[in-house]
Amino acid sequence: MKILTVEGKTREEALKKALEELGASEHEVRVKVVEEGEDRVVLEVGIKAEEVKLIKEVIEGFIKSMGTTGGVEVIEREGVYYANIVTGEMDSILIGKAGKNLEAVQHLLARMIHKRNPKIDVVIDIAGYREKRERFLRAKARAFAEEVKRTGIEYIFEPLPPSFRRVIHLELAGKEGVRTYTIGEGDLKKVVIAPKRRR
């Protein structure tokens, strides 16, 4: 498996270099921006087909070792892979309460994939749960941010695993009039939307 790190004055120049060396076309590669300066761009470029194959191998092995059947679909988005697992009977068990088990599956599969190739980043989903939940949490965050701004009263989310808390923090990061922070410990960590203090 070949993953290149290339440097150029512009993104186009760096990418062209990588494509020539890999003998691939633009739609066949994954591009990750490592560094982007005014006159220097560093990219990491890998061949999608090879990386997807590795991800599938690891995940299919995991499904099989659980003694169940199922499959995985892998797509690439902005340099990161998104792998959606669908099993015959284990989906709800693997998601767990409030996505707790999904976090464990995410951690283990990411470690197993990193062991084979440390440059491959993958987000694990099960039966589309993560995607649906993230979309819902983003909408909820936006709606309650307006509410907090209007009333000046904090809103506290239910306890959520780290990756879901991050979605809320990121969604409201640039938002006027509100700030977010976390309270609680361990599995009981909650995101709070609070009004921004006027100075």
Binding site: V58, G61, F62, S65, M66, G67, E89, M90, I93, L94, G96, K100, N101, E103, A104, V105, H107, L108, R111, M112, K115, R116
Partner: protein, 77 residues
Amino acid sequence: MKELIEHIAKALVDNPDQVEVREIAGERTVVYELKVGPGDIGKIIGKEGKTAKALRTIITAASMKSGKRAVLEILEP
């Protein structure tokens, strides 16, 4: 279950040949003893115990299907 633990452990360590899982079955509980090669224990434990915790979570979840409680013991090499 034994296969699942073995599979995950082997994928995480530097020396997969030295991964051993022993199953000790009780009436309601099954204990799985996981042994890895010297130097590989850190790969199983992970930063702040995160990997071991994730492994235990998955094992508990997967054991719901069998109806017996599964317990993972990670043995020091």
